[in-house]
Amino acid sequence: MSPLLMQEVPLSWYLLLSAVLFSLGVVGFLIKRNLITVFMSIELMLNGVNLSFVTFAHQWHAVKGQIFVFFVMMVAAAEAAVGLAIIIAVFRARATLAVDRIDRMKL
């Protein structure tokens, strides 16, 4: 093992990565036009949060954070199933996935 790998990675690095992931998600959510990309941005935000959960769980030797991550992943999976179904339905109805053009709030 190289000394670099032996060294413990500092906490702030994980959190920084988590923040970067989350911010990428937010920015993606705000600027992307394609609905599927927006959806993926949401997943990115969730994973950024998951990373910070895991980090803290490891740091404080508490299992709660990891359990939270499982919950988040489960909800995300369900959300993906429902969300993709909605996206397909929207596409069938509107023949477009550009969020700017899906603004009528009714069918």
């Binding site: 959510f29 705000l30 927006v38 969020v99 700017d100 899906i102 603004d103 709030m105």
Partner: protein
């Protein structure tokens, strides 16, 4: 000794009749409606009879010899076991009281009421609203018996308002007719003024006595004989205002002539025999208050005398048979108040009773005439009905003789009792007595005028196929005629024989004057009967022998005649001084300024603000997903900013920073 009288059944039975006919009446066959409508007052009358027998037995039979003599001692109180109103120190029970006064009144109300129910079966037989009519009539009996039985002012007030409601409903019974609907409203609104007085009187009773129960008020006053006038005068005058409204006295009498728009049996029952006498009954019921205020008593006497002669003069020239009787009722009620005003309550109640007999009789007979000639009420178009309507003619004759005060008919005794009591009250009493005497003259004149114009002479209209009314109408007429003949003898207040007064004494006290002598009473009654006969003779002269005379006299006094024909322009006066300004204020101030301006403006302002705010805020709800996301992000950033920045520290240092900057 104390049997159970079940007084609560007396009002309840008509109420059940009201509910049955009022709710189901539309779908019931007519015979069933009639049965329900007649059984309710009959059963009620039966309970009253039972109560009166049990109540009177101990008075007339010496109980010592007879063990287990059934009977009750009056006053008999029946209180609802559930507490009714309990607020602080004030406790009011829902209680009924049977004493001599309410017993007399109950017999009149349920007895005459039952007769008029029977009469109505014939009179209203063809009307579409048959069930509605009887449900209202039963409702009236319910409230009237509550009023009469009331043991305290509040229960009385319930009945008081209720009979006003029933009166309104029945005056406006033919509500498709605008005049009838208007008359109903007029009666209701004018009565509100009186009820206002009654209410204020009750509030004053509560604040000054802490109770509304008549017996407790009487006991407190009896314990304080020195308490005279002052607030008692105010209370008595407030109650008198209520009584004047209900009993159609000056200045609130205007509703009663218009109330003749209702069916004639209603005029007989409500607007002659029972409801309008509620004011007299109330004054007699609260007589202790009046006894402690000589001023209030004088007011009652003067109002009564003034009303008596005022209404009698109007009745002289009316041509509508029912309106003549209406003004005559007002005039006779004035007599009763005159009697109350000299503390001769028993005489007033006596006159109330006999008046109920003969005035109900006269109204029902008038109804029979109207029924016979196809709804015509104008005296000028009648005449010569003597032969066509023999029964009606006979009973009307009895009624006219009774109201004119001819010996030995009922009206003679009661009017004599009142006039005699008034005469004993010193100089002022003599003046009031003279007014009463003139009124008796006028009464005899206009009643015989009515009699001549209706039955005597030749028929003044061609197309009349007059027919006598059915037995259901004739029966009550004959019974009431019999009562009008002997009702006075039952009372027996004559020439010193004060049976009726002695009977009522436990309820209303005895006249606090020195007993007059029977010679004086005989002279006075001879004078009264002579005056009545003079009235008859004048009417005979005017309307039989020289029928052109009235028109000639009217021509010599055009102004006076016009004044009487137009009823002293009181309606016009009220219209100009009260109704028009009220309507004006209602329209211009209350409707335009307050309703449309202030209230409508406020509503419009609130609604406008919400609409305006919505118009701006709706731009948020663009439907654009990214705009929502942006707001979400901004909101999350704001929350973070709020939570993470140590605001307390920042704010605490802010002045220092500011000062520090200023310092540099």
């Amino acid at each position: 000794m104390n049997a159970d009288l079940h007084l609560w059944l007396i009002p309840l039975l008509p109420f059940v009749g009201f509910l049955l006919n009022g709710i189901l009446g539309r779908g019931l066959p007519k015979w069933l409606i009639t049965t329900v409508a007649l059984l309710a007052p009959l059963a009620s009358f039966g309970v009253v009879l039972n109560a009166s027998v049990l109540g009177l037995l101990p008075l007339f039979v010496d109980p010592t010899g007879i063990p287990n003599l059934p009977g009750v001692s009056l006053p008999y109180v029946e209180t609802c076991p559930l507490p009714w109103i309990s607020a602080g120190l004030l406790h009011i029970d829902f209680s009924f009281v049977l004493d001599q006064l309410s017993l007399v009144m109950l017999l009149v109300v349920t007895g005459v009421g039952f007769l008029i129910h029977i009469y109505s079966v014939g009179y209203m037989g063809d009307d579409e609203g048959y069930a509605r009519y009887f449900s209202y009539l039963n409702l009236f009996l319910f409230f009237m018996t509550v009023l009469v039985l009331a043991g305290n002012a509040l229960v009385m007030f319930i009945g008081w308002e209720g009979v006003g409601l029933a009166s309104y409903l029945l005056i406006g019974f033919w509500f498709q007719k605008k005049s009838a609907a208007d008359a109903g409203k007029k009666a209701f609104i004018v009565n509100r003024i009186g009820d206002f007085g009654f209410l204020i009187g009750m509030f004053l009773l509560v604040t000054n006595f802490g109770t509304l129960t008549f017996s407790e008020i009487g006991a407190k006053l009896a314990a304080n004989p020195a308490w005279q006038g002052g607030v008692l005068t105010v209370i008595a005058l407030c109650l008198m205002l209520g009584a004047a409204g209900k009993s159609a006295q000056l200045p609130l009498y205007v509703w009663l002539p218009d109330a003749m728009e209702g069916p004639t049996p209603v005029s007989a029952l409500i607007h002659a025999a029972t409801m309008v006498t509620a004011g007299v009954y109330m004054v007699a019921r609260t007589h202790v208050l009046f006894d402690h205020s000589s001023f209030a008593l004088s007011v009652v006497a003067i109002v009564g005398a003034a009303t008596a002669i005022f209404a009698a003069t109007i009745a002289l020239v009316q041509n509508d048979i029912k309106r003549v009787l209406a003004y005559s009722t007002i005039s006779q009620l004035g007599y009763m108040f005159l009697g109350c005003g000299v503390a001769a309550y028993s005489a007033a109640i006596f006159h109330l009773m006999t008046h109920a007999f003969f005035k109900a009789l006269l109204f029902l007979a008038a109804g029979s005439v109207i029924h016979a000639i196809g709804g015509e009420q104008d005296l000028r178009k009648m005449g010569g009905l003597r032969k066509k309507l023999p029964v009606t003619f006979a009973v009307t004759t009895v009624g006219v003789l009774a109201i004119a005060g001819i010996f030995p008919f009922a009206g003679y005794f009661s009017k004599d009792a009142i006039l005699y009591a008034v005469f004993l009250q010193g100089t002022n009493g003599r003046i009031l007595w003279f007014v009463g005497l003139i009124t008796a003259l006028l009464t005899a004149f206009y009643m015989f005028r009515l009699w001549y114009m209706t039955f005597m002479g030749e028929s003044r209209s061609e197309n009349v196929h007059a027919h006598e009314c059915p037995w259901s109408m004739r029966g009550p007429l004959v019974i009431l005629a019999a009562l009008s003949v002997c009702g006075g003898l039952i009372g027996g207040s004559w020439l010193g024989m004060e049976h009726f007064g002695a009977f009522l004494a436990p309820s209303v006290g005895v006249l606090p004057t020195e007993a007059g002598n029977w010679r004086l009473e005989l002279i006075l009654s001879v004078v009264a009967v002579t005056v009545a006969l003079v009235g008859w003779l004048v009417a005979d002269l005017f309307y039989r022998r020289k029928p052109e005379r009235p028109a000639q006299y009217a021509a010599t006094m055009p102004a006076g005649n016009r004044l009487l024909v137009n009823k002293y322009y009181v309606d016009e006066f009220y219209n100009a001084v009260i109704v028009k300004p009220l309507l004006g204020i209602s329209k211009y101030v209350l409707e335009w300024v307050v309703d449309i301006g202030i209230l409508g403006g406020a509503a419009w302002l609130l609604g406008g603000m919400a609409t305006f705010a919505g118009a701006i805020l709706q731009r948020w709800q663009s439907g654009n997903l990214r705009s929502y996301a942006a707001w979400l992000a901004a909101g999350a950033a704001a929350v973070l900013l709020f939570l993470l920045v140590p605001w307390a520290t920042v704010l605490a240092n802010l002045p220092a920073i500011h000062l520090g900057m200023a310092g540099h």
